[in-house]
């Protein structure tokens, strides 16, 4: 685990953190929305565009060869990052597109009238709306694993919930609005016993803890590059080889075809079958560099660091009058969402911004969950490895000032 000093030197890798906002040093605690990018990733993008930029796959010249090698190298690195094979890694725009891809292709083929899609009450809209649309297309229905008042999944009836015509169980690994870490491997094991396909939404976990798809035992895994130090516009869908092999294409176009006639076409095998058109080449390569950078630090160490900051934040925030923390008290991912009796989340966030503190306020794309918890909106501080205990202290002090102001 890096020492305090080396965490501080890691922070130097992020040029954006070195700036003043509204006359104060930036305290960026909006990492669950998107993470910042280290110099290594920015250099990788620059290098690509300044030396190697070319279209991939069909080119026979040097630049095209370099671009293809780098692009496929990124696929291999991402595969290694989650214990998968390169042929199982599909590049998408992000978690949202990954889940839509599964709902459209696997879903349209396997979910029919009267079937059930199992989700949880804590899903992000991106793991809810695609299934609502699928259910509507197919006459299927949705079922939800309930969330307890303290923000955990209520698993007392999980086997009953998995019973019946349940076709897929899609659930979030770490909740972006509660911080809850769900027991993904156990849930996948239960689902497998029930013959139910699983998708894990790893948007909040992929950059924060070690992930191995074989250990998780899931069938699909989705995550976004921009939340793990990678560029925007790139993400991953991982699917088990045998499942991908049987799936119909998603989009049609260049790169995904084996042979095209005027009226019929044959398609390449996975992963190319699912990557129609010119892919997000630079971004895929940049994500490869991000994975390399993160593994240079170590995801176990990052997890410990983030958890320690979250613990510290919970301890400090709890002391503020009228402040309620959402989600479990301990054992949470590196984020803390809260509400103040006396101030609305937007007012908290706007005021925090005046101190250079970046928080997020709102429903965090989990409207139904917040409605169930009886909270219209919350404020959220989310941490990453470049954040420091001093920043957490300052955050808590600012929130306290805001509370006093509105009390």
């Amino acid at each position: 685990m890096p020492s305090t000093n080396s965490w501080l030197s890691i922070r130097q890798d992020f040029p954006i953190l070195d700036q003043q906002v509204n006359g104060h040093p930036l305290i960026y605690l909006d990492n669950a929305a998107t993470a910042q990018k280290p110099r290594a990733v920015l250099d990788c993008l620059d290098h690509y565009y300044e030396r190697d930029n070319s279209n991939v796959h069909r080119g026979l010249h040097e630049l095209s060869n370099r671009a293809t090698t780098a692009y496929e190298g990124a696929r291999e690195r991402l595969a290694a990052y989650i214990g998968a094979e390169a042929g199982e890694i599909i590049f998408t725009r992000g978690t949202t597109e990954s889940i839509n891809l599964v709902a459209r292709t696997w879903g349209d083929a396997h979910v029919g009238e009267g079937d059930i899609i199992l989700l949880t009450e804590m899903e992000h809209h991106s793991n809810l709306v695609p299934w609502q649309l699928l259910a509507k297309r197919k006459g299927a229905s949705l079922r939800f694993v309930p969330v307890t008042p303290d923000g955990l999944l209520d698993l007392s009836n999980i086997d009953e919930l998995l019973a019946g015509p349940v076709k897929i169980f899609s659930f979030v690994h770490i909740s972006n609005s509660l911080g809850t870490i769900n027991p993904a491997a156990e849930l996948c094991a239960r689902a497998r016993l029930a013959g139910v396909t699983t998708l894990v939404d790893a948007a909040q976990s992929s950059g924060h803890l070690p992930l191995d798809v074989r250990e998780l035992g899931c069938d699909f895994l989705a995550f976004s590059g921009h939340k793990m130090c990678g560029p925007t516009g790139i993400g991953i869908l991982w699917g088990r080889k045998d499942i991908l092999a049987a799936m119909e294409p998603f989009h049609g176009g260049g790169e995904m075809i084996a042979s095209v006639g005027f009226t019929e076409s044959e398609f390449k095998p996975a992963p190319y079958r699912f990557e129609a058109g010119t892919p997000a080449i630079a971004q895929a390569i940049g994500l490869g560099a991000a994975a390399e950078y993160i593994d240079g630090i170590g995801r176990a160490a990052i997890f410990d660091h983030d958890q320690a900051l979250a613990r510290q934040a919970v301890d400090l925030l709890e002391e503020i009058p009228g402040l309620r923390i959402l989600g479990p008290r301990h054992d949470r991912g590196g984020l803390v969402a809260f509400v103040l009796k006396d101030a609305h989340a937007h007012d908290i966030v706007s005021m925090a911004d005046q101190y250079g503190l970046a928080l997020r306020g709102g429903h965090h794309c989990t409207q139904p969950l917040l409605r169930k918890l009886g909270v219209p909106a919350s404020a959220r501080a989310s941490f990453y490895f470049y954040n420091t205990p001093e920043e957490v202290e300052q955050m808590a002090a600012i929130v306290r000032k805001i509370q006093t102001f509105f009390a």
């Binding site: 609305h344 989340a345 937007h346």
Partner: protein, 152 residues
């Protein structure tokens, strides 16, 4: 601090104790407005005659800016002619997107406290939510000479 400029006493007071808050049983029109991206919700009920906004009340939840704006609006608009109300809504929305140094019309009175919102473009939609609901209410129920209709 900038934010004390934004959250002046008047705004804090109206956000904590919003005036004209609650249902309006004899409303002729009720309009629900929301800011989907942040979750603010305001339900505005008004009693309109062919010419006048006789009275108006609101319910809902939102940030201090949103609540105070709705509260001050109801006070300002009550009893105004429909034409005046529509003009005021338009002027208010317009004021929020003018440059900071632009003078605020005399007629705004207390509403001037919202001029600081111009420095916080992300909060403009909080300040205008109730006013957009008002505009919709005015457009939903035809003005004179057509007679008043029930609408919910």
């Amino acid at each position: 601090m900038n934010f004390e400029e934004l959250y002046q006493e008047l705004i804090l007071d109206h956000s904590k104790r919003p005036r004209n808050f609650g249902p309006l049983p004899d409303a002729t029109v009720t309009v629900k407005g929301d800011n989907p991206s942040c979750g603010d919700e305001v339900e505005l009920s008004a009693k309109l005659t062919p010419d006048t906004v006789e009275t108006l009340k609101f319910t809902g939840h939102g940030c201090a800016i949103c609540m105070a704006s709705a509260s001050l609006m109801t006070i300002k608009i009550k009893g105004k002619s429909r034409q005046e109300a529509a003009a005021m809504a338009k002027a208010f929305r317009h004021m929020l997107v003018t440059p900071e140094e632009t003078a605020v019309p005399e007629s705004f009175g207390d509403l001037e406290v919202f001029s600081a919102v111009r420095r916080f473009p992300q909060r403009v939609k909080c300040a205008t939510l109730a006013w957009r609901a008002l505009e919709q209410a005015l457009s939903t129920v035809p003005a004179a000479p057509v007679s008043t209709e029930e609408n919910d």
